[in-house]
């Protein structure tokens, strides 16, 4: 269950892009606090800046101004090597289009973060098996992504995000490519993961009803600004 320990703290974060003469304010002066173990849904229409905000939290992008603090570390002050380590150890990511590598089996896809983290080969197979068991795909470990349904592919992506035991799980429209029943089952899985082993989840979505059912808190963005910060439910 969520507690008041800060997992993520955004302090007046802005991300501006120069587009010719004009400046696009994709994220404009946003301050958010996400408690450890909280499931936050980030809502907004397309172009509202919610994905950009998620990329800033993921350490894939740097803010133009402001501070992104994850578990006490200010990402804006990290070197690119430290950011890579942060992405490897502290966060796991799930995408709308799954982003599994097509020529690798499920097992190999899930193993990829362990390879990047230079985990010993002997430990890897156990970690991979546990992660696949957690999402219910242990029997399909030798299959390739193209042999799976969308829901199964997203489960694999979740297993890959979990395999390094990160503290924070970031999901960018995880149900966007799935039918509603499958989407629900994915969100059910995410909520289970939030509770056991216990993880902070930030999910970007535009499906308000699903977000209301599964998340602890809804934050709504529009034009790069935070319109409502919601309240913990």
């Amino acid at each position: 269950m969520p507690d008041s320990q800060p997992a993520i703290q955004l302090d007046q974060v802005s991300r501006h892009y120069a587009m010719g003469e004009s400046v696009i304010r994709a994220v404009d002066n946003v301050s958010v606090f996400v408690g450890s173990g909280e499931f936050l849904a980030l809502l907004g229409s397309s172009g509202s800046g919610k994905s950009t905000l998620l990329n800033l939290i993921a350490g894939l992008d740097r803010p133009s101004s402001g501070a992104v603090i994850a578990h006490g570390q200010d990402l804006s002050k990290m070197s690119s090597l430290e950011l890579a380590r942060y992405r490897r150890q502290t966060v796991g990511m799930v995408f709308q289009s799954f982003n599994l590598l097509p020529r690798m089996t499920l097992e190999e896809n899930v193993e990829l973060p362990l390879r990047l983290a230079e985990v010993d080969r002997s430990e890897r197979s156990l970690c991979v098996r546990q992660a696949l068991e957690r999402v219910g795909l242990e029997k399909r470990h030798g299959h390739r992504p193209s042999e799976l349904s969308g829901g199964e592919q997203q489960r694999t992506a979740i297993a890959r995000a979990l395999v390094n035991r990160p503290k924070i799980l970031l999901a960018d429209e995880p149900t966007g490519n799935l039918d509603s029943a499958t989407g629900e089952s994915i969100l059910t899985l995410l909520r289970e993961i939030q509770r056991n082993p216990g993880m902070t989840i930030i999910m970007v979505t535009h499906e308000r009803t699903l977000a209301e059912r599964f998340a602890n808190r809804l934050a709504v963005m529009g034009d790069g600004k935070l319109l409502s910060n919601g309240a913990a439910r």
């Binding site: 894939l60 090597l81 992405r87 490897r88 020529r103």
Partner: protein, 449 residues
């Protein structure tokens, strides 16, 4: 990432676009093959020339003459020129002394003289040459008909092939037959001359015709160049010790008459001194000069030969490197294409925690693997091309009735060097694509469809 994981991923990626990567690798292989084939020819020709020359005895030999013989045109008549205190006569004592010098294998005089050979009752005029025992190893007797002298003192003769044909067109039937050699024996008149000439500076000899029987035991294509200083090719070869005992009148005996010959002992117009290896020639030559002899060697010629082959190798390498340069562009092109195609994958890797360095290394290893495989294939192909050229050359030589040669050689350094060079060139080619992949913005890359 660990190297094993990197190479694992690299191999996987290479297999993915197998046709394109195979063609690129083949390009590298062709480049390396041309380099290896060309250099194998350069090395082979050099080895061939060096071994032929080493066997010929030209480069481990020193030509020794008595110093007093070497009077240049400006030297003036003997009486007006102060005698060289160090100059020594080249006689049997000198020969013994030289043969006891360190690193000297053998010392022998050049013995060649005109003779008349009688075979089957008919006369044939020709030149006789004495062959030292060491000439057996010179390579010129390889592939001869019959055999080399059974002993240095055997009354046996080897015929030069053209001469053998004069004796009997069916040359093989000559072996085992006897021939008679008629020659002019030199009988010294020095004792009489000395008695009548108080100055003692006139020598002379009378010439007496003699005959000797020899058994033909072999026929050889050409006379081996057993040292230098001789003139005219010997067409009837007999063991040198036998030739020495004949005391046959030689062409350069005319000089003996003019020479300050006051000794009864035989003197030599020249001696050939063979040392253990060409590298010892310089030092031995200097020592011989210190002893008061004239000495000359072909060492400088051999140095010129070496620099010629070095320049040849460099030129061959430059020409064949053009193919490798084209192959390098092939690698750059393939990897740049791969970076474009795999943008999304690079984005995923970065999102999962790959550092720029990891991405760069991955492309670097892919380039290196193409270089390694291309290098191995290319070296093998280059070796085969070299063998093919050698085979073709030998078929041609054979059709012209010439003995076969090995014009191509791939030593270990060329194999390792070829592979290492291929890897190096591939890594250099991979530099730009790899750093381009590493610089990709993950957010942009993930958005790429």
């Amino acid at each position: 990432m660990k190297l094993r994981d990197l190479s694992d991923l690299a191999f996987r990626n290479l297999r993915e676009a197998v046709l394109r990567n195979s063609l690129t690798t083949l390009g590298v292989a062709v480049g390396v093959a041309s380099l290896v084939a060309m250099l194998s020819l350069g090395v082979g020709l050099q080895q061939l020339a060096t071994s032929r020359l080493a066997k010929s005895g030209l480069f481990d030999s020193i030509f020794v003459t008595p110093k007093s013989n070497l009077r240049g045109p400006g030297g003036g008549p003997p009486a007006t020129r102060p005698p060289d205190a160090k100059a020594r006569l080249l006689d049997a004592d000198a020969r013994a002394e030289i043969s006891h010098m360190p690193n000297v294998i053998e010392v022998y005089p050049q013995i060649r003289f005109f003779t008349e050979v009688r075979y089957d009752g008919k006369p044939f005029a020709t030149m006789v040459a004495g062959m030292p025992e060491s000439s057996k190893a010179s390579g010129a007797f390889d592939g001869m008909q019959g055999s080399f002298f059974s002993s240095p003192n055997a009354d046996e003769a080897i015929l030069q092939a053209e001469f053998a044909k004069e004796l009997n067109p069916q040359t093989s039937s000559l072996i085992g037959k006897d021939l008679i050699m008629r020659y002019a024996e030199r009988q010294s008149l020095s004792s009489q001359a000395q008695a009548g000439d108080p100055a003692g500076n006139s020598g002379g000899f009378s010439v007496v015709p003699k005959e000797k029987h020899f058994r033909i035991i072999g026929i050889v294509e050409t006379e081996p160049a057993s040292g230098f200083g001789g003139f005219g090719s010997g067409r009837l070869l007999i063991p040198l010790p036998i030739a020495e005992t004949l005391r046959a009148a030689q062409v350069n005996d005319l000089r003996d008459i003019l020479r300050d010959s006051s000794s009864d002992k035989p003197t030599y117009s020249s001696l050939t001194v063979r040392v253990k290896s060409p590298s010892l020639v310089g030092a031995t030559e200097a020592k011989l000069k210190d002893l008061g002899f004239g000495a000359f060697s072909l060492l400088d010629v051999s140095k010129t030969l070496q620099s010629f082959f070095t320049v040849l190798d460099i030129l061959l390498a430059i020409f064949s490197s053009v193919a490798l340069a084209v192959a390098t562009l092939g690698i750059v092109n393939t990897l740049v294409m791969a970076v474009l195609e795999r943008r999304r994958e690079i984005g995923v890797l970065k999102a999962l925690g790959a550092a720029d360095r990891d991405v760069k290394q991955l492309f670097f290893v892919e380039a290196g693997v193409m270089g390694l495989i291309g290098g191995i294939l290319g070296t093998l192909l280059g070796w085969l091309i070299g063998r093919g050229l050698a085979l073709g050359t030998n078929v041609y030589l054979h059709s012209k009735n010439l003995s076969s040669v090995d014009i191509s050689s791939v030593p270990v350094w060329l194999v390792l060097g070829g592979i290492a060079f291929a890897i190096l060139v591939s890594l250099v080619a991979g530099l730009y694509p790899a750093s381009r992949a590493a610089r990709l913005d993950p957010v942009q890359a993930l958005r790429y469809e």
